[in-house]
Amino acid sequence: MALLELSDVQVFYDKIEALKGISLSVEAGRIATLVGANGAGKSTTLRAVSGLIHPRAGTIRYDGTTLAGRQPHEITAMGLVQVPEGRRIFGRLTVEENLAMGAFTRHDRRGIAEDRERLLQLFPRLRERLRQVAGTLSGGEQQMVATARALMARPSMLLMDEPSMGLAPMLVEQVFETIRTINADGVTILLVEQNALMALSIADHGYVLESGRIVLSGPGRDLLDDERVRHAYLG
């Protein structure tokens, strides 16, 4: 069944219509991706899902319940956690403190410690940098911190906003490899990406967004082969 379901969601910034009625669904345990050019409405979609902005019309349902009118922290508490765009980490806190902030909603000390250990195995680089101020890390490491911090909340679904942005090609590969690993552990993922080639190649299902509308959707592989997608995004 669909874990996350958007139907006919419209978002306005004042009078400008940023999302013109979007419908999409993400199956539990899968990776879905939303690709599109700058300004197509990808981040707006994520902000609507995580409760930072409220749609004017349409419904967003998570795990069967509607998210209408909920505050961001309530949505996080439901297990739907966002990894924000641009690796927005707490730059003056240490890596360790950033991870601790990720578990802000949790109270099970032992579970937190276990998850931390598990994540440090997934990101060995972070173990070396635990006491370092996060703002001094490299771009790739900051992305790791952002991802690990979100996972510390033990989410059932992760919303990832442009995780490959600004990273060197080799690091991009690593990021997508990590996403696959996280997904294999049972976390459902909605991935928003400009890097359509990489995103579609790991996604079970893809949606192409163009000026606030979904213009194409289908299994990731199929979209990769689609002539229109190739023409528009893959060059």
């Binding site: 961001p72 996080t76 924000p84 707490f90 601790a100 060995p124 070396e128 006491r131 370092q132 703002g135």
Partner: protein, 552 residues
């Protein structure tokens, strides 16, 4: 050539600074305060300091020793020339119509008592010698330099605050003997100055020798040292009014109130990052609530005792803080500062208005507020109330410290860094922000409550915008987000100017200069919080060396 230009420019800069100090009247005013009686006064010391500092700055990065000396000399000469020129102009042109401070007394001071011609020469020479000395000081061994600076600073403190220190030494026996050796009733004796210089300088030498021979202190050790110095500071605070009398008690009382407010605003600005310029409103709420609940006049509502009214005042302040926070929940940064500025003024104007006058007394205020008493012991004097403030500040500090390390504290810090991300991690934005306003207001309300009983009356005019600005300035100077910083900031910005009360009008000059100097050279404050200094150093591109020590 470049060195020379730089030295000359530095000299010009310091010279202009000196001329400025002279023309606003500060130099002449400082002249009235002796350091060593009959020998050196504060005005002369400031002149000397200007020349020395000019030499130090001019000689910086000037290369080999002789070049440095030359640069210092040139800088000092240029600065001295400007001052000499001022003196000659004051002597020949009647300037007092424009600059009231350009008096014969000022001329006399700038000429060291000589006639205009020889006086100018003396000033020029003095500037040169001062500059040269500054340059030499800049190239001497750091430990020796530190010793000289420490010695000089000790003499200045002992001289400027002689009245106060003598008050504290009103004993017979050994203390009396020391007092008579160091001071006459008018001020510091030359022999006392020499003794203090030698002792302070020597102590500094010994200390710096020991610490350089030792290892670099570990973070643990540094923390322990900080705790010890904080303990000593507390002890001094407790004993000070006993030793130094009522006036110091009053000053400390004021400092204590500002510490309370500073701790409150520190929660809002330092931790939660909510720049609040209307903070005085909460102070007013606390004061007025206390006044209305306890006042014996016709406007008083319940005629409660102070102890009954204080907790209610704090609660009402919290409520006020939450109400204050509601309209500005979605406002960030600069906009928040302006919005809170408006809210703060609204509170003051409402209190002042005819509309609220039947309840709040309008411009006439509320009179006849009783003093608190324990049993039959009334806390009547400022000194006794100071101890009440100290206890309240201690409790408040403990609460603030616990808050800082709590979940709520972490939520605030996360919100301060990035509201969206903090929410995405599960921080309840509305509750956290309202709690920041409410708890911050509780501290200020407590301060206001004590303020009301201290004065025995409250008036709208006591709650000016300037108080908000003072509180903000003291936490910035002390170090954002740092509790000891609040204490240091309050002492430096509220206590010291109060002690130098004859410079009252120039307090804001001191303020401004202190703020600029702090922001330029020590933006993290006098006693920075760990996170804050990290942030500033990270911004400067200094990676922490800790990472290398962690096992992989």
């Amino acid at each position: 050539m470049k060195t020379l230009t730089k030295a000359a420019t530095t000299g010009l800069l310091f010279g202009v600074g000196g001329v400025y100090l002279a023309l606003v009247g500060l130099l002449e005013m400082m002249q009235a305060r002796p350091i060593v009686f009959g020998a050196v006064n504060l005005g002369q010391a400031v002149l000397a300091l200007l020349a020395l500092a000019c030499g130090v700055v001019a000689a910086r990065d000037a290369g080999p020793a002789f070049a440095r000396a030359g640069a210092g000399l040139l800088g000092g000469l240029v600065a001295g020339a400007l001052m000499a020129l001022l003196q000659v102009i004051v002597a020949t042109v009647p300037l007092q119509g424009m600059f009231i401070a350009a008096s014969p007394a000022l001329r006399n001071m700038l000429a060291f008592g000589f006639a205009p011609g020889p006086g100018a020469l003396a000033m020029l020479l003095g500037g040169g010698i001062g500059g040269l000395a500054g340059a030499v000081l800049a190239v001497t061994l750091p430990s020796l330099r530190r010793a000289i600076v420490a010695g000089a600073a000790a003499v200045v403190i002992a001289g400027v605050f002689q009245e106060l220190i003598q008050l504290m030494m009103q004993y017979e026996g050994i203390i009396g003997w020391i007092r008579d050796f160091v001071y006459t009733w008018q001020g510091l004796r030359p022999q006392g100055a020499v003794a203090i210089f030698v002792i302070a300088g020597g102590t500094s030498l010994v200390l710096s020798h020991r610490s350089s021979a030792d290892h670099v202190p570990s973070p643990d050790e540094r923390r322990r040292r900080r705790f010890i110095s904080a303990g000593v500071a507390l002890l001094v605070l407790v004993l000070m009014p006993l030793l130094a009398g009522a006036y110091i008690g009053e000053v400390l009382m004021l400092v204590g109130l500002y510490i309370l407010m500073g701790m409150g605003l520190n929660l809002e600005v330092g931790l939660a990052g909510l720049l609040d310029l209307g903070f005085v409103a909460f102070f007013a709420v606390g004061a007025y609530t206390t006044a209305l609940l306890t006042s014996g006049s016709s406007i008083g509502l319940l005629h409660l005792s102070y102890w009954e009214a204080m907790p209610i005042a704090v609660l009402i302040s919290i409520l006020g803080g939450v109400l204050f926070g509601l309209p500005v929940l979605g406002v960030r940064g600069d906009y928040l500062a302006v919005a809170t500025l408006g809210l703060g003024e609204i509170v003051r104007i409402v209190v002042l208005s005819d509309f609220a006058a039947p309840l709040l007394g309008g411009p006439q205020g509320v009179l006849d507020i009783p003093k608190p008493s324990i049993g039959s012991f009334e806390l009547g004097s400022p000194v006794k109330l100071f101890y009440l403030t100290l206890v309240c500040a201690g409790v408040a500090a403990f609460i603030a410290w616990r808050l800082e390390n709590s979940r709520l504290g972490r939520a605030w810090e996360a919100l301060r860094d990035d509201e969206d991300v903090a929410q995405a991690l599960g921080v309840n934005l509305i509750r956290s922000k309202l709690l920041a306003y409410g708890l911050g207001a509780a501290f200020a309300g407590l301060g206001g409550s004590i303020f009301a009983t201290m004065l025995g009356s409250v008036y709208p005019s006591s709650f000016q915008l300037l108080i908000s600005i003072n509180v903000l300035a003291l936490i910035i100077v002390g170090g954002m987000g740092s509790l000891p910083g609040v204490v240091l900031g309050a002492i430096a910005l509220i206590g010291l100017p109060e002690l130098l009360r004859e410079f009252g009008e120039y307090r804001y000059l001191f303020y401004g200069a202190a703020l600029i100097v702090m922001m330029r050279w020590k933006p993290e404050g006098l006693w920075p919080s760990e996170v804050r200094s990290r942030e500033l150093h990270a911004a400067a591109g200094e990676a922490e060396p800790v990472a290398a020590m962690e096992p992989g």
